[in-house]
Symmetry: C2
Subunit: 244 residues, 2 copies
DNA sequence: CGAATCCTTGACACTCTTCAAACTGTGTGG
DNA sequence: CCACACAGTTTGAAGAGTGTCAAGGATTCG
């Protein structure tokens, strides 16, 4: 069925949230999946589409976004390996936004039908998947709060904290250092700022010795300070492991 | 069990999304529920709480919000009768925001335990509830986009369109006229603006003959114009009825 | 009738945007 | 190995949009 063990990634992810039984593990691993490699900047699903499959990100980064007016883009979320960025399409049949890659990426497509069967047969897995979409929503709330009530500096600092912790949770970061494939334009589109202002804000942050951002690596030099500056509270990421 | 027929509201709501079987209807109506009447401005759950029940709004308005810094408030969503504003607490055990009333309100509390049982025994109902939380998330995405990339005028106009349609869907509005219990401070906290700027923007909208907003009633005098000005596209509300 | 709440107004400050240009780094083909 | 192109970053100057503060006016309700 699944090429190699692409679905193993999903098992590990869900198991890190709520312990899976062997049967559940089995059920997930035997989902059908088609794997593909995509180039950077490629759309996976588009606003208005009615997809019949979900996409599990195996490697690389992706983002969801909307376009308003004449070309203004708002990035809604960033996604890293282990995420299913369009899981909501399982129950919302028309896409209200687009999903695209930011880097070269490997994705596995899983038919809606198989996922729906899975959630009915294994309500425990269903609950964990539902939970994933709820964490997603919690992140939207946090970003909203930032765009409504935080300064540019705070918003960017907050995003650094968030992404670092998410990467660390899947062992793609550590020691306050993580891969950073985002351009300043991406950062601006995610925080609701112009790229120019992002640039100036980053310089300020560097000036205060909080971060280093060169090439494709972010180094957080003063984690505590970054947390304080952005009033970051990781509760909304709901990273702790729970029993079902 | 349920006092009177408070749960009938939930049946009607879910049935308007996906047709329920008699058994499902039955299962919902026999959920245990405690009904209470709350005063305006009262908190129902608070940031940091670990609730063991969800709250079905029977009458009145509520909102979810976060507080940042020294008292700055961001409203995350508005809720009207038929909504379960804290449904996410079913799977996210710690609240990352608060929920409070805006007007006098009647709510029915339903234990998590009973809801979890229901979703396992009736996967169809589970799917519809999951879907409700996904529509919620879709609305967060739309608000984010507004705060990141739309002007004050567009944001407020957009909100008018959204709330009017949501109220109309539960027959609390019609003929481009609806109840409007929100103050200009509330409106500002929802759109990420100051109350002063909300005031000036509303005057501009009135000046252009788009709306009337007096007492506790909003009248939309130029619906098409309002839609156009805010680039409103109702897709994200996912209001169409679907089969399960 | 008074008190509270909400709305409105003015003046001013500031964050952030826009536009346009120059600069840097990196990969590619000759 | 250099020249070039391209994508991304940096800089400056000017201005729009929105926030803040503070005070006065209008409603509503008991």
């Amino acid at each position: 069925m699944a090429s190699d063990h692409s679905l193993n990634m999903l098992v590990r992810r869900l198991d890190s949230i709520a312990t899976l039984s062997d049967a559940e593990r089995q059920a997930i691993e035997s989902l059908p999946a088609r794997t593909r490699v995509l180039k950077p900047g490629q759309d996976i699903v588009r606003d208005g589409d009615q997809p019949s499959q979900c996409c599990l990100l195996l490697s690389g980064w992706a983002c969801r976004y909307k376009v308003v007016g004449e070309g203004k883009r708002q990035i809604l979320s960033f996604h890293i390996p282990g995420d299913i960025p369009d899981l909501q399409s399982l129950h919302l049949h028309t896409m209200d936004h687009s999903l695209g890659t930011l880097t070269e990426a490997t994705v596995a497509f899983i038919p809606h039908e198989s996922l729906r069967e899975l959630t009915v047969r294994s309500p425990g897995v269903g609950a964990v998947l539902w939970r994933e979409t709820l964490v997603d929503a919690a992140t939207f709330r946090e970003w909203m709060t930032g765009m409504g009530r935080r300064s540019a500096y705070e918003r960017i600092a907050h995003l650094f904290c968030e992404l670092y912790l998410k990467l660390e949770a899947v062992e793609l970061a550590g020691e306050h250092r993580c891969p950073w494939p985002l351009t300043q334009v991406d950062l601006g589109d995610a925080t609701g700022l112009s790229n120019v202002h992002v640039n100036r804000t980053l310089q300020e942050m560097r000036g205060q010795g909080l971060i280093t951002l060169r090439g494709c690596t972010l180094v957080i030099q003063a984690w505590d300070e970054l947390i304080r500056a952005s009033e970051f509270d990781p509760t909304y990421l709901h990273l702790e492991k729970r029993a079902t």
